[in-house]
Symmetry: C2
C-alpha cells in the first residue's frame, strides 16, 4: 500500500466592503474548514483592515490545525479576492470606492503579515471560480458567473480557463448597456444593467412604483418610510402577494434576462451561475428570467446553457480565492475534477 | 547552410450569400496568391454551389502552381469559412437563410470533390482570425472582430485562441440588445445592435428621416426612389455635406459605439477590429464611434484597447479560412508570429 500523502492547505480570503470572510481548504478542494466572517470596518483605514485579515488568517489556520492535525508548514499560501479594478501581477488594488483605497499593495501587505505567499484576484472572478470548482457550475467548460448585489459583477471561465482580459478588468457585466437612452448609472453611463437590477436599483424602482400613492404591503413593511425599502423588502412583499412588488420582481427578471441573453449570444456558455443577495428571490425571479432569455437569445445558445443559482452562498468567494491561489501558484483547477 | 525547406500551401474559401472568394497562402502566411471571386448564385442549389467552389479551388491552385512552381502535393488542404450556425466537428452548415441550406455537409462535399482535407468555420470567425494573423489585429492577445454588413457578426480571440463557445455559436454580437424596448430585429428580438447599425438598418433609418419630406441630397442620389437608398448612398450624401445623412451616420456611430463599449467592458480586449461594408465610411464613422466608446466604457478598458478598421478588405475571410485550417489541422497560428 502506498503511504498516504500528507494533505496541504490553502487559506482563502474574500474581502468585501461590508464583511471579510476567511476559510481554509485542502489543495484537493475536498471540503472547507473553519469559515469565519467579520465586519470589514473600512473606516478604520487600510492598515487596520489588513491587521484584521491577518488575524483571521491565523485564526482559521489554528482552527484547521486543531481539527485536522495539520502543522503550520502544511499551509502553502493565501488566495485573496477583493473588489477591483486590480493589478493582479503586482498584487495591487487600484481603486475601490467601497473601501476608499487607491493603489494599495494588498497582496504583499497580507503576505508579509502572515509570512505566506499570497495571490490577489477580483472578487467576482473568485465567486465564479468557486462555483466552478466546487459548486453549481461544476463540469462547465464555458461558465459565466453573474453576482448581483449592491453592484453587478461578472466572472468568465472560457475554454476551461479564468479569463482576465488585457488589463484585468474583463467581466464588467453590470456595466453593459441594455437601454442606450435609459437610467443613469452610478458609473456615469446610461442604461447599464446595474442601473436596473442591482439591489439598490430594485429598491429604487419599487419606490418609484409607489410614488403615485398606490396601496401596497411595501409601505407597511417599512413603517411608511420608503427609504428603508430594500430588494429583500420587495421580495418579501412579492412572496406575500403584493401586486406592486410582484411587478417590480417581474421587471427585474426581464432586465436580468435581457442582460443574460446578451451573454448567451456572445459566449454560448454551458453554464450561467447567478449569485448574490438579489438571487435570494429564488424561482420567483429565476423562472421569468429564464423565460426572457429564451425569448431573446438564439436557440442553439439557449439549448446549450443551464442558468442556475450558485450553490455555495456566502463561501463561494473564499472557495474561489483558494482556487485562484492554486491556479496561479500550483497550476490548474477545473470544474470537473481536482487537478 | 541548411537546405531550404519546400513551401507548402493552404487554400482558403470564403463563402458568402453574394460571392465566393478563394485564394491560396503558404503555411507561413507570408503572402497570398491568386485571390479570385465569383458570384455564389445560391438559387442554383447547394450542389452547384459546391461545384463552383471546387472549380475555384482547382483554379487558384493551378494559378499558384504556375506562379510558384508548387506541385499538387504541396497543397495540404482547404479551409472554408461559411455563414453559421455550423457544426464544426461534423463540418455541417446547420442553417443559412441567405443560401437556403439546412444540415448541409459542406466540408465533406468540398473535400471529396477536390480530394484534399478540409475544415469549416464561421465566416465572422475567419474574418477576425485573418485580421489577427496578417492584418490590423496583429499582435493582439484578446481580439474582438466585428463585421458590419447586411448583418453584424463577431469573432473572438481570447487569450490567444479562437473562441467558439459550447456549441459553436459564440460571437453573435449583432444580436446583443442595446435598447430592450427598441426596434424589431429580423431575429424576432427587440433592440438588437443589428437592427440599428447593419447596412439595411442604416438605409431604413435614412428613409425614416426623410419621411416628413425634409430636403436632402439623398433623394437626388436615388432619383426620388427611397427604396434604392443603401448605406453607401447615405455615406456619399454625408460626405457631400447633407445634413440628414450626416445625422444618420452620427447615430450609426452612436449605436455601434454603444455595442462596442459593451464589448470593452465584457472582454477588456487589446484590439477591436471592424470590417465589412459599413466601415467604408472611414473616420466619419470611426471617430464619433470611438468617442461614444470613451463615454460609455470603463477607462482601463478604453486605455487598453485600440479600435481599428480591418486592413485586409475583401480577403480577410480567405486569409482567416487558411488560418483556421492551419489551427485545426496543423496546430496554432497567432497574431504576432507565424507558428
Amino acid at each position: 500500500m502506498a503511504p498516504k500523502r500528507k494533505q496541504r492547505y490553502i487559506v482563502g480570503v474574500d474581502l468585501g466592503g461590508t464583511n471579510i470572510v476567511a476559510g481554509v481548504m485542502p489543495v484537493d478542494g475536498s471540503r472547507d474548514h473553519a469559515v469565519r466572517s467579520q465586519p470589514t470596518r473600512a473606516e478604520l483605514g487600510a492598515d487596520r483592515v489588513v491587521d484584521r485579515i491577518a488575524g483571521m488568517i491565523e485564526e482559521v489556520m489554528e482552527l484547521t490545525a486543531a481539527e485536522t492535525g495539520a502543522s503550520r508548514a502544511d499551509f502553502v499560501g493565501v488566495g485573496i479576492g477583493a473588489p477591483g479594478p486590480l493589478d493582479r501581477e503586482r498584487g495591487i488594488v487600484i481603486v475601490t470606492p467601497n473601501l476608499g483605497w487607491r493603489d494599495f499593495p494588498l497582496r504583499d501587505e497580507v503576505s508579509s503579515r502572515v509570512q505566506l505567499p499570497a495571490t490577489l484576484d477580483n472578487d467576482a472572478n473568485c465567486a465564479t471560480v468557486g462555483e466552478w470548482w466546487c459548486g453549481a457550475a461544476r463540469g462547465g467548460r464555458n461558465v459565466v458567473g453573474v453576482t448581483i448585489g449592491t453592484g453587478i459583477g461578472g466572472g468568465l471561465i472560457l475554454d476551461g480557463t479564468l479569463y482576465h482580459g488585457a488589463s484585468d478588468v474583463a467581466g464588467e457585466i453590470g456595466h453593459t448597456t441594455i437601454d442606450s437612452t435609459g437610467r443613469r448609472c452610478k458609473c456615469g453611463n446610461y442604461g447599464c444593467l446595474e442601473a436596473y437590477a442591482s439591489g439598490p436599483a430594485i429598491a429604487e424602482r419599487a419606490r418609484e412604483a409607489l410614488a403615485d400613492g398606490e396601496a401596497s404591503l411595501l409601505r407597511e413593511l417599512v413603517g411608511g418610510d420608503l427609504d428603508r425599502i430594500t430588494a429583500r423588502t420587495v421580495y418579501e412583499a412579492s412572496t406575500r402577494g403584493d401586486l406592486v412588488a410582484r411587478e417590480v420582481v417581474r421587471d427585474t427578471a426581464r432586465f436580468l434576462g435581457t442582460g443574460i441573453a446578451n451573454l448567451l449570444n456572445i459566449f454560448n456558455p454551458d453554464v450561467v451561475v447567478l449569485a448574490g443577495g438579489v438571487t435570494d428571490a429564488g424561482d420567483a425571479l429565476l423562472e421569468p428570467l429564464r423565460g426572457e432569455v429564451r425569448r431573446r437569445a438564439f436557440r442553439p445558445a439557449v439549448e446549450a446553457c443551464r442558468i442556475v443559482p450558485g450553490a455555495l452562498a456566502g463561501s463561494a468567494g473564499v472557495v474561489g480565492a483558494v482556487a485562484t491561489f492554486k491556479m496561479q501558484v500550483m497550476g490548474g483547477v477545473d470544474g470537473d475534477r481536482v487537478a
